[in-house]
C-alpha cells in the first residue's frame, strides 16, 4: 500500500470484506466521514431517522437508471462504535461477484474509493481502536487457512498476548527499579533486592520468554501448517501410506522399486491444523537411473525443510541403516515405522537418529492411518499447552529472542560481578525489545511492516 493513499484518512473508502467469489451473503464495508450520506443516496433512504447499529432491509439502486439491482441488509455505525473509529456503513448484498462489483462501482461513483490493503485496520489503529498487537491479530484472522489458526488470531486480538507480554514488561520494570534504586539511593540504605533475587527475577522472565518462543513456533506451525516427509528405501511403501493418509490415489504404487521419482504432495486437516505430506523417491546410494537420482536429491533437500520425517523400513529385508545416517545431523525429528509386523516383529534396534519406532502390519489399513495421525497429534498438537500457543509474528519473534539474549547476557554479567549500571543497560534493552512488540516504543519500521502485510477489507 502506498504511504500517500494510506494517509488520506478523510476519504470514504469501501471494500468487500468477505472473500471474493460466490457466497450467500457478502459484506461490503464503507468508512469515512460522509459514509452515511453515501448509503442514504444508494438506498434512496428518504427522511427516516437512522438508528445506529440497527439492521435495515433496503433496496440498493443503480443511480444511472434509477433501478434497484439487489436487496439486502444495511447497518450504520457512529464513529465511536465502528471498527475504524469513523462513521461507517456495512452493506450485506447477495454474494454474487456481479452484484458486489456493481455496489462497489456505485459507491465509487458517489465519491468513495476502494480501500488499500489494511486501510480499515490502519484507521482503526490511528483512531485508537486497536493497539499494535491487536492490529496484527486481525491480520492473522484474515489470513488464516484453518479453524485453529483463526482461533489463534482471535485470541491475539483479545489481547491475551499483550497481557502476557505486559506482565513480563512489568517484571523487568521491577528489576530495573531495584537496580536503579540501588545506584541512585546509595546513601539511603535501602533494602533493594539482592543479586540472587535479581538474578532469579531475570531468569524467570527469560524462561517465560522461552516458553512464549516455543509457543511462537507452534503458532507458526498453526499458521503455515506442518510439513511431514515420508521416506525410506525404494519400495518400502511410502506411496502406499501417503495414499492411505490422504484417502486418494495421489501416488502411483507398483511393486517396482523406484516407481516414485518426483515429490508427491497432499494435505489433510487434523484438529483444524493443516498437515502437508511429501512422498519422495526411495533413497538408495547407487541408483543408476538419472531421473531417480534427481528425485533422491530432491528428497534429501526436503529433509532440511520439513517439521517431521517418517522413515519407513521393512525389517524383513536387508536394512542399510547407514544410508540414513545423515539424519543424525538434521535438526528434524525422525520417527521410524517398521512395516510387515504380521510377518513377526524382528528384533531390530532403534536407529539412533530416531525419536521412536513403531510397528505396522499393513500400510493400507485404517490402523496405519490412525497411528500416523496419533503420532502427529502427539508431536504437534498436544505437547504445547493451548494458552501458550500464541501467534507470534516473525519480527516479534526476533524481538523476543533478542530480549531473551539480553537477559542472558545480563545474568552472565552479574555472575562476573560487572557493575549494575552496565547490567541495567542490558535489562533496559530487553525491556525495549518487549515494549517494541507491545507497540510502546516508537519505531516507524514496525508500522510500515505491519500495514504492508494487511489484506483488503480488514
Amino acid at each position: 500500500m502506498s504511504q500517500i493513499t494510506k494517509l488520506r484518512e478523510h476519504d470514504v473508502i469501501c471494500a468487500l470484506s468477505t472473500p471474493a467469489g460466490v457466497s450467500g451473503i457478502a459484506v461490503v464495508r464503507v468508512s469515512g466521514p460522509g459514509s452515511w450520506e453515501l448509503a442514504r443516496t444508494i438506498t434512496k433512504w428518504g427522511e427516516q431517522e437512522i438508528v445506529p447499529r440497527q439492521t435495515y432491509l433496503r433496496w440498493f439502486y443503480d443511480l444511472e437508471d434509477g433501478e434497484p439491482f439487489d436487496q439486502g441488509l444495511i447497518v450504520f455505525y457512529q464513529d465511536k462504535s465502528s471498527y475504524t473509529g469513523q462513521e461507517s456503513v456495512e452493506f450485506f448484498p447477495h454474494g454474487s461477484p456481479v452484484i458486489v462489483e456493481r455496489l462497489l462501482f456505485q459507491l465509487c461513483q458517489k465519491g468513495a474509493r476502494i480501500a488499500e490493503p489494511g486501510e480499515f485496520t490502519f484507521r482503526a489503529f490511528l483512531n485508537g481502536r486497536l493497539d499494535l498487537v491487536q492490529a496484527e491479530g486481525v491480520l492473522h484472522v484474515i489470513e488464516s487457512q484453518s479453524v485453529e489458526q483463526a482461533k489463534q488470531g482471535l485470541r491475539h486480538l483479545r489481547g491475551v498476548y499483550s497481557q502476557k507480554l505486559s506482565m513480563l514488561e512489568q517484571q523487568l520494570v521491577r528489576v530495573l527499579a531495584h537496580m536503579e534504586a540501588d545506584i541512585d539511593f546509595a546513601l539511603e540504605n535501602l533494602t533493594t533486592a539482592s543479586q540472587e533475587q535479581l538474578r532469579e527475577w531475570m531468569t524467570s522472565v527469560a524462561v517465560q520468554l522461552d516458553e512464549m518462543l516455543q509457543g511462537a513456533q507452534k503458532g507458526r506451525i498453526l499458521k503455515e501448517g506442518v510439513h511431514v516427509l515420508l521416506m525410506g528405501p525404494p519400495n518400502s511403501g511410502n506411496s502406499t501410506l501417503l495414499n492411505n493418509i490422504l484417502g486418494e490415489e495421489k501416488a502411483i504404487v507398483s511393486p517396482i522399486a523406484g516407481t516414485t521419482r518426483d515429490v508427491i504432495e497432499g494435505s489433510i486437516l487434523i484438529e483444524g491444523v493443516r498437515f502437508y505430506f511429501y512422498d519422495t523417491a526411495g533413497i538408495r546410494q547407487n541408483s543408476s537411473d538419472e531421473i531417480e537420482g534427481v528425485g533422491i536429491k530432491k528428497a534429501l533437500d526436503l529433509t532440511r525443510r520439513v517439521d517431521l520425517i517418517f522413515l519407513i523400513l521393512n525389517p524383513h529385508v536387508d536394512i542399510h541403516f547407514s544410508e540414513f545416517h545423515f539424519l543424525t545431523d538434521l535438526n528434524v525429528p525422525v520417527i521410524t515405522l517398521f512395516t510387515h509386523r504380521d510377518l513377526g516383529e524382528r528384533r531390530v534396534s532403534t536407529p539412533e537418529y530416531s525419536l521412536s519406532t513403531h510397528w505396522i502390519s499393513n500400510l493400507k489399513s485404517d490402523e496405519a492411518k490412525a497411528l500416523v495421525v496419533g503420532l502427529l497429534k502427539e508431536q504437534f498438537l498436544t505437547r504445547c499447552p493451548r494458552d501458550l500457543s500464541l501467534m507470534v509474528h516473525v519480527h516479534q519473534e526476533a524481538a523476543l529472542q533478542k530480549a531473551r539474549e539480553h537477559l542472558k547476557v545480563a545474568v552472565g554479567l552479574m555472575d562476573q560481578h560487572v557493575g549494575t549500571e552496565i547490567i541495567s543497560l542490558e535489562v533496559r534493552e530487553a525491556l525495549y525489545c518487549i515494549q517494541k512488540v507491545l507497540g510502546k516504543h516508537f519505531d516507524d519500521d514496525i508500522l510500515d511492516q505491519i500495514f504492508s502485510e494487511f489484506c483488503i477489507g480488514k
Binding site: 490511528l126 536503579e180 541512585d184 546513601l187 560481578h417 515494549q435 516507524d444
Partner: protein, 634 residues
Amino acid sequence: MMGQDHFDIIVVGGGHAGIEAVAAADRLGKRVALVTPDISRIGVMSCNPAIGGLAKGHMVREIDVLGGVMGLAADACCIQFKRLNASKGPAVRGTRMQEDKDLYARFMLNYLRALPNVTLIQGEVKAVILEGTRCVGVVLHDGAQIRSRAVVLTTGTFMNAIMYTGLKGEEGGRAGEKATKGLSDQLRSLGFDVRRLKTGTPARLDRNSIRWEILEPQKGDDRFYPFSFRSPKQVQLPQVLCYISRTTPETHDIIRKNLHLSPMFQGIIEGVGPRYCPSIEDKVTRFSDRDSHLTFLEPEGLNTNSIYLQGISTSLPAEIQDQFLRTIPGLENVNVLRYGYAVEYDFIVPTQIFHSLETRYIKNLFLAGQINGTSGYEEAAAQGILAGINAVRAIENKPPFILTRDQAYMAVLVDDLVTKGTNEPYRMLTSRAEHRLVLREDNTLDRLGEISIKEGLVSADLMELILSHRQKRERLLMELGTHKLTPKQWVQEMLVAKGSTPLLKAVTYEEILRRPEISWQDLYDLGWNEGLYEPDIAEAVEIEVKYSGYIRRQNELIAQMKRYEEMLLPENLDYSLVRGLSKEEVEKLSTVRPRTLAQASRISGVNPSAIQCLMVYLKMLGKRNYEGSREQCI
C-alpha cells in the same frame, strides 16, 4: 533604590541558583544586580549540610567547568568527603561533601562581593516591570523600581510560602525569614500556571545533649577529590565524624498516635512533597511493616553545636517532636535547637519555560531553581548558571545556550523540566540520564571544557589543562596497550588470588584491566610499573578500557535517538488536526510545544502510539507539500 539605576541583568534571590546566575553574568561582563531580602543570608544552606551526591555531584562538576562557584565553595568548606558507590561501576560514582554551613555562606558572600560587575541590593521584590511582553526590571516592596534588560527569578521556596510545625501555619519561606508576597500573584495574573509544592526539613539538635558514646560513628573517605579543577587537591578544614542511630517502635507509636496533628495528614498542606525524601510521618505510615528507620546525625559545621538529623524530616508539633526524638537511642535527653517544619510554596509549572529557561510568555524573564519545581542545591545552581548565561545571550540577541542530554546532567534536568513538567520537587537521579555511561564525573572537563572556553565562561588557559589530561590519558592507554604480562607462575597465582583466571598466553595490561574483577590498583600487584599517574587520570583510563564496548553501544543508541532529535515539529503545528491523539495528548503537546519528535516522546502522558501518529502526520505533511507542488507543475 534609585529609579534611574540601570543594570543589564537583575537576579532576584541570593540562593544557590541566584549566586550562579549573578556570577555567570559577571563573567560574561554584564552589570548585574542581585536583589535579596537579606544580604547576610546569601548562600545559606537551608536544609541538609551536604553538597553533591549521586547525579548531584556530577552537576556540581559541570557547573564548575562552566566557571561556576558551587564547587569552589564546597571544596573550601568540606568537613567530610565521600565517594558514593565506590564499590559500584565508575560511571555511577558520585562525590558528596559535607559542609561547614556558615563558612559556605560566608565564602559565597565574599565571592560575590569581590566580583567587579556585581551590585548587591537588599530588598524584597513585589513585581516585575513589563514593557509589552518584555521584562525590564523589578519593583521593590517600597515601590522603588530597578530597571534592567533582563530579569532572572530565583525565589526558591519563598513565594507565598507557609511554614508548618503542627497544624498552625505561619507565613515564611525559611526559619526566621519572611515569605515573598505578590510576585507569584502577578505571574498568575499574567497567565502563568502557578501551583503548590511542599518540602520539609528535620529538627536541629544541640550537640551537647546527645549521648555520642553509644552511637556508631561514620568516617569520610581518606582520599579527597575536589569538585573544582581550580581547587587545591587537599581538604582545607578538619574533617568530622557523622553518627548513625535508628528510630524505635516507640518512636513510630508516638508518630502514629499524633498523625492527626500533622498538617500533611490533615490535608492542610495541598502541595505535593518529594517522594524520595519523605517525612518520618510518611515513612511510618507507608512502610508500616518496618519497626525502625535509619537516621544520620550530621554536624552542621566546625564552630556550631547544631546537629542535622538526616532522614527525620517532620512537620509535627514541637512537643510531639520532643517526645518522639527522645525515643531514638542517643537522643534520650536531647535539646532541640530548631524544630523540623514543612514549607509549602508556589512554583511555576516549568513546561511554561523554554530550554533557555526564559518564560514562554514574557521575554527576557528567566526562571531558575525551586521556582521551577526542583529540589536541591545542585539542581538550583545548575539552572542558575544556565539562566545567567542565557539572560546575557538574550540581551545580546544571540541564540540561546542549550546543552543536549548526551552532554550534561544539567541538560537532562532542563529538558525534563520543560518537557515533562513535574508533580513533585524534581531531584536529579542518574537513572534519568539515558546516556549515563557517558555522563561521568571523571570526564566533565572533556565534555564541557571546550564549550565553556568558547562561551567565554572560563579562561582559555583551561585548554592547556584539558589537553594535558587528554595527552596523559592517551599515553597511559598506549602504554597499557603495549606492555605485556606473561603467564609466569607468580602472575598466574596472583590472578587466581584476585579471583581472576590464569593466562593462556601473554596479554597486554589493557586486556587484563578489561577483566571486570581486575582494578587499576591490581595492576601494580601484577607488575605494572610504568610511571605514576594522577588518580583521576588512571580512573578515567580504567573506565575507558573497561567500558569502551558499552560506551560504544550506548553511543550507537544515542545516534539512533538523534534521528528523532532531528525530526523537527513545526512551531505552529495544530495538534488537534493530528488524528489518533487523545484529548489529553493534544493538550499536553500544545502546552509543551516540543521542538523535536524525540522531545515529544519524552512528554509524560504522550503515548508511543501518539508519536507514531505524529510521525505519520509529519510524513503526510511532507507528501502533501510534495503533491501540492507537483500539481502546480502540471
